[in-house]
Symmetry: C2
Subunit: 532 residues, 2 copies
């Protein structure tokens, strides 16, 4: 039997599938690997890569350190060291159910039996795909979306994503760019069927990654009704639910609904990675009323188990409402808000449009004016240019965005901001100023409107020009227009202003409360340098 071992770059030691897995490389993974080999470090590697591409919240390690080193975290009993229920220990599922009941404002107490805990949401995606889909089946997803889900569904479970592209220009109805509608979902489903695919579900993210969009419960219900009409599973990813940092905005979980359109096909994901800034703790949770799904997931759970000791620690944390409500959440929100405000202020001052949303750890920014032409090759060149200059961002094609030139920029990085400041001396002209290509002055800057309410008509506005009232995405509209600055100015300005940032000054005292002397020392050194 031949096994595809003969292909270029293939290993004779691996199977066809193994070679395919080994050689698979998404842009997000590639960037992260490069970052892994050349991480910026203040003293050890000052010329290393600064990571604004990975969605991690690096603003709250002091708070986490303080809590995670309290004595209740160091608990051992025999059952924690033994094999356990592959859905997670009962005590943890109980804690998760209570936590979600409270923070998702569920009208009725959620049940521990409906909770499955695994080592990350990627594992949950993989498992769910394996049990609701057969190989080669597909799941609908609006684009852009968090690109790693492609691998989560494909690598083990051989399930495809079928893309439902969202327009980057606001449509005529409520002027929201990248607006998700039931019509688009229906249209996508129809297309998939025409292509002969079996669609088993739809993935919905709220708050959205990478858009940071917050959908109202009413909107979500209409999406869930679409799923019900078509007997699709709805996988609702709410891993950013506690990152909403504008007090005037309320996130509404689908679990807050009095009743779900199709509870047996609605599965809600949450985890510690984003809301509690602990991607490294490997905790993803699923809430579903579907017993069959829970039973099937339990069978795969042995591949995705979480150490008993970690389960204990997470349960302690989730049960500590005082810490969550009085310490962590308010401070985290304050810091996220300040960091976002600083970042968006910089983008504004440089005339870079972006979606202004008070949630998540990143902004979705329109760098189309820096592309020589509107192509994904050009976008990739720009991404590589940033990487060459040791700044890792995430470009739109990594999220399967249908229009080139959009980037996700993570702002939730305190130490990184300071490090950027240090880098200022290296700031040089990185790219030639893009030639003005048949554009107007449109789309160069943005109206800094905060999202006042979920259904607001906030939008990506253009300077001196109303948003064009077109529902479709014209190539010309997506072409970058006359750039106000060159790319080196973008980077240089960011670096310069970060160092002298008012935000930095204001934010400092609270940030230095960490108990770990090592962290505190590093912080102090960085701070002094940044203030020079």
């Amino acid at each position: 039997m031949t096994t595809g071992e003969e292909g270029p770059g293939n290993s004779v030691y691996l199977s066809e599938r193994g070679n395919s897995i080994r050689l698979h490389e998404g842009i997000l993974q590639e960037g992260y690997i490069q970052y892994g080999m050349d991480r910026h470090h203040d003293t050890d590697n000052p010329d290393g890569i600064i990571n604004m591409g990975t969605s991690e919240n690096k603003l709250c390690y002091d708070l986490l350190h303080k809590r995670l080193t309290k004595p209740d975290m160091l608990h051992i009993n025999p059952s924690l060291l033994q094999y356990s229920d592959w859905r997670g220990h009962a005590f943890l599922r109980e804690a998760v159910a209570k936590f979600l009941t409270h923070y998702c404002c569920s009208p009725n107490p959620l049940k521990a039996d409906n909770v499955v805990v695994m080592n990350g949401c990627g594992s949950l995606f993989s498992c769910i795909a394996a049990v609701i889909c057969d190989p080669k089946d597909a799941i609908l997803i609006p684009t852009p979306f968090y690109g790693v889900i492609t691998e989560d569904l494909h690598l083990y479970s051989d399930v495809k994503l079928f893309h439902v592209p969202l327009d980057c220009e606001a449509d005529g109805k409520d002027n929201r760019p990248f607006r998700l509608t039931v019509g688009k979902l229906e249209e996508g489903l129809q297309r998939a069927k025409e292509e002969g695919l079996t669609i088993r579900g739809v993935i919905l993210m709220n708050p959205h990654n990478p858009l940071a969009e917050i959908y109202s419960l009413k909107e979500m219900i209409t999406f869930l009704e679409f799923a019900k009409r078509n007997a699709l599973h709805a996988i609702v990813d709410e891993v950013y639910m506690l990152t909403v940092f504008d007090e005037s905005v309320t996130f509404q979980s689908v679990l807050s609904a009095d009743s779900l359109p199709d509870p047996q096909r609605t599965h809600v994901m949450w985890g510690m990675s984003k809301d509690f800034a602990m991607a490294g703790i490997r905790i993803g949770t699923l809430y579903t009323e579907n017993r069959d799904l829970v039973e099937a997931l339990a069978k795969l759970g042995s591949f995705h188990g979480v150490p008993g000791t970690t389960q204990h620690q997470v349960a302690q944390l989730l049960q500590d409402k005082e810490w969550i409500n009085e310490e962590f959440l308010p401070e985290n929100r304050r810091r996220l808000k300040a960091a976002c405000s600083y970042m968006t202020g910089e983008l504004l001052s440089m005339g870079i449009p972006f979606l202004d949303r008070p949630a998540t750890l990143y902004v979705w920014a329109d760098l189309r004016k820096y592309l020589q032409e509107s192509s994904f090759e050009e976008e990739l060149s720009l991404w590589k240019c940033f990487l060459r200059h040791k700044v890792l961002l995430s470009c739109g094609q990594a999220f399967c965005c249908s229009v080139p030139g959009w980037f996700r920029i993570v702002f939730a990085d305190q130490q990184h901001h300071l490090q950027l400041g240090q880098y200022q001396q290296h700031s040089q002209c990185l790219l030639p100023v893009k030639k003005d290509n048949a554009g107007s002055d449109n789309a160069a800057t943005v109206n800094p409107k905060a999202l006042a309410e979920n259904n607001s008509s906030d939008q990506l506005k253009e300077r001196d020009s109303p948003v064009p009232d077109t529902g479709s995405l014209a190539t010309e509209d997506c072409q970058a227009s006359k750039p106000a600055e060159s790319l080196d100015t973008l980077i240089g300005t960011l670096r310069h202003q970060i160092r002298s940032s008012d935000w930095l000054e204001k934010s400092t005292p609270e940030l230095s409360a960490g108990e770990d002397p090592e962290i505190f020392d590093v912080f102090k050194v960085l701070l002094q340098r940044a203030r020079k």
Copy 2:
């Protein structure tokens, strides 16, 4: 499209694959689930199931508690809370490499780059199968074997095991029952090819599960040479390597070889579950020089990640040679030896044959005399009978043993022994005495020979009769012979003697050293009751 949803017991919410996964139930899993629903507990559930089926070492929680609650375990830094290398943090891979270099007696320092750490060896089996095999490919394995590997290879990766049955009777050469030979491997490979299967590798366990057999390095090298001749990957599972409790016996890892026959196709597995009695900590490690394999595994690593905090703790533990060498290993071995000696003494006194091996946490015992007839239905009935009477064992068919009537009995359970003692009053006649069916008095007891050296001719001897010098497995030979005791006597005797066990008295003082007051209290109560 139909999806098999219509089958009996199938869920309309799951795919064909999903239903197959959900409805899949091995005997080991079934037993564990029943145990999970009805665990014995001294006060809360005194009539619950006593677990002698799951291979866990429950003898050393006091030692582990003491070590795992030391201050160095409670360490937090930002990198532990962030995404990391999916092969495991560098500091942990470094610690594993040093640990294996020392305890496997590697002639050269093992390299951290050749180490992959995942959340358990099941995850490693799943990943390795995915990347060295295509769907429907197969891997050779001698039977009996640790049955869960079937699911590890099949559930996600759709890889089969091809069985190479070992004879339960000693063959003519060295009188070792269940003897593994190159000839049997060659024969199995030939059969597999004739059946049109693509065989990609062979799984070798040393010390063996469930046989507890210890293979010499010389033997292992001949197996590895077989693999090399046939271009098969050799997956060498050494997870019980530190459980050898007879000082006169030395375990030799394949990593101690001066050179391996085919280093690019030799992959050595180890983990914390057995040797450090921490199945719940979810740590499996792989050592391989094959860079392609490591790269491919890294791609699947996101599904099998270990929390950074746990990685730190495990690294601390593995680096603490003083604790390992001076405290844990000697005491663990002493307790394992005592527990094994007690268990085998009981089996001997009841005339139950077993493989007498100074390693692992279990004995492989011949309960054929309790079968009404030599069939797997009968074996299952016996297993269910034990379970009805609240004793969970593992029967041979769960390990794909080719002859019915063999059981794996886990002895490494201190608390459990005490609990069994409490149960004595419930001891009743469980089964009718088996009718004498055409057998002699053979095979009713065993000669209690300890394994004096790796190549010793220790064997499963029969009372008043030499081992029959036949290399093949005849059905008649495997029929149970005239039983000396009924099954209720077996259980009753075990329970009675456990309570009055001399071993218990001797072992007590060291066992009560735990720092956790809760554990200590429970222990004291159990002890008092057991001594009544």
